[in-house]
């Protein structure tokens, strides 16, 4: 059983102790988990990634991947990395770039051409894009190429830094689909992103990092079948619905009332069936439901709460 990514009391300072980039950060990312990292700029996410990838040496604390040092060659061989700012030799063509990384990853030469073509197809790059020099790529194409590079050799540990930035909506959909596929294969993914809705959709857990500390780790419901909070809106006008009435309806349907507003209320439901029962019960109870949606802004609340201090 793999040990996952274990970070213990990681600290890193810059400028001789003046800047505390990481302050005794501890995390455990289980194998197969999709783990998101969010936080304000300058919070230390970059430094955390750097330490996890072996670019930076922590001042104290340890970080291991599957029980081994992060820059161990055997760990590297099963790691894929998509940097935020993808830099590559401008003269290379897309295919050559992938072939280069294929060779660097010590993957068998016999499979190279086939793997490169498969990688290009996987990220939705057209076949002729592989023949174009990289300097002619658009931002979105570059991002896709970077993702293709990270996926070469079917890594077990994937580090993605702002993977969806600059990508068009089709690319975002593809990216989500890819992540779901990876999750199905048990790949552990560490994701750093500012796009909170994306993070909420794909991640199992999300760490909120601020001022070098992990302020919170949220378990995010990623699947449709998971427990979540439902926000129900009803038509304005008419008699206001009493809290007790709504509460009673919810309890009968097997849900829980969280909060009530003038034209909306939040209910906690266990799964899809519970959600369906609740909505049916509300309508039957005379509530003119016009909209029900998963609660938004949960992660955003972390940012706002963070500004006021740790939760």
């Amino acid at each position: 059983m793999s040990a996952g990514i274990v970070v213990e009391s990681l600290s890193k300072t810059y400028r001789g102790g003046m800047v505390r980039a990481l302050d005794h950060v501890s995390l455990t990312i289980a194998p197969g988990e999709v783990f998101g990292v969010i936080g304000p700029n300058g919070a230390g996410k970059t430094t955390l990634f750097g330490c996890l990838l072996g670019f930076l040496r922590p001042d104290s604390g340890t970080v291991t991947i599957d029980g081994q040092a992060v820059d161990d060659l055997s760990v590297r061989a099963v790691t894929g990395y998509l940097p935020e700012r993808l830099v590559m030799d401008r003269w290379m063509r897309g295919r050559e770039f992938l072939a280069y990384h294929h060779a660097l990853a010590r993957l068998p030469k016999a499979d190279r051409a086939r793997d490169v073509d498969a990688a290009l197809a996987r990220v939705g790059l057209e076949a002729d894009a592989g023949g174009k020099p990289v300097r002619k790529y658009s931002r979105g194409m570059l991002q896709r190429l970077g993702l293709a590079q990270a996926l070469l050799g079917h890594p077990r540990w994937l580090f993605l830094d702002e993977p969806a930035s600059g990508v068009d909506p089709a690319g975002v959909v593809l990216f989500r689909r890819l992540l779901a596929e990876l999750k199905g294969r048990g790949v552990t993914v560490l994701l750093n992103s500012h796009q909170l809705d994306q993070v909420e959709r794909v991640c199992d857990r999300v760490a909120y990092v601020s001022k070098g500390r992990v302020e919170a780790i949220e378990t995010v419901s990623a699947g449709a079948g998971a427990a979540r909070v439902l926000r129900v809106r009803w038509a304005a006008g008419g008699t206001p619905h009493a809290r007790e009435v709504l509460n009673a309806i919810a309890e009968r349907a097997g849900a829980a009332l969280e909060s009530v507003g003038a034209t909306e209320a939040r209910f906690a439901v266990a799964d899809d069936q519970a959600a369906a029962r609740l909505l049916g019960a509300l309508v039957a109870g005379g509530v003119p439901v016009i909209e029900a949606s998963p609660e938004e802004g949960r992660l955003e609340r972390l940012f706002l709460a963070g500004e006021g201090g740790p939760r």
Binding site: A69, V70, D71, V75
Partner: protein, 185 residues
């Protein structure tokens, strides 16, 4: 299992073998340097030097001018000229081909006095410093280069001397370029 987070394993292995080799070679370098400081190595002179006796006869037969190199072992500019001109494969070949090169080695400091042929040549051409190059061809005044004015100038002088030796030069003209190192006797 290597210590987690340490830089001793994986991609940042310290190149101990190479460092050890570099250390050993550094020591050898220092030792060789010290040894050579005390015993300067003989520089491989690529010019085919002829013995003094028989050189004049050979010059008459072949029609080539004689190049006398008046030199001494203890003279640093002589060593410099040897290294920079005579040890150069290209120049050495040219000298061996265009001239009859004869080395006249002064041994007065080491042995107290010189062999008769060396002394005679030094007197004939009024040698008073080292290195001195003298180009001699029948019917012409000897051309003299005092001291070592540097590689470029020496090569240039050698080329012009050959030309003049062929064309013939009027008596009384002696070429002595300006700046150059020269050691008195």
């Amino acid at each position: 299992m290597p210590a987690p987070g340490s830089a001793t394993g994986g991609t940042r292995r310290t190149p101990w073998a190479l460092l050890a080799l570099a250390a050993v070679l550094l020591v050898l370098r220092i030792v060789a340097g010290l040894l050579e400081a005390h015993h300067p190595p003989d520089i491989a002179d690529l010019v085919v030097w002829r013995p003094i006796s028989g050189s004049e006869g050979m010059a008459r037969v072949t029609g080539k001018p004689i190049l006398y190199d008046f030199t001494a072992d203890w003279c640093p500019p002589c060593r410099l000229m040897k290294r920079e001109v005579f040890a150069d494969p290209e120049q050495a070949r040219k000298i061996s081909v265009l001239y009859i090169p004869v080395r006249v080695l002064d041994r007065s400091r080491e042995d107290g006095r010189n062999p008769p042929d060396v002394a005679a040549l030094q007197t004939r051409y009024r040698i008073d410093g080292f290195p001195t190059l003298v180009v001699v061809s029948p019917g012409n005044q000897p051309q003299v280069l005092n001291g070592y004015p540097g590689r470029k100038q020496t090569i240039a002088w050698l080329e012009s001397a050959v030309g003049k030796a062929r064309l013939g030069i009027r008596p009384g003209s002696v070429t002595t370029p300006g700046a150059g190192d020269s050691i008195g006797r």
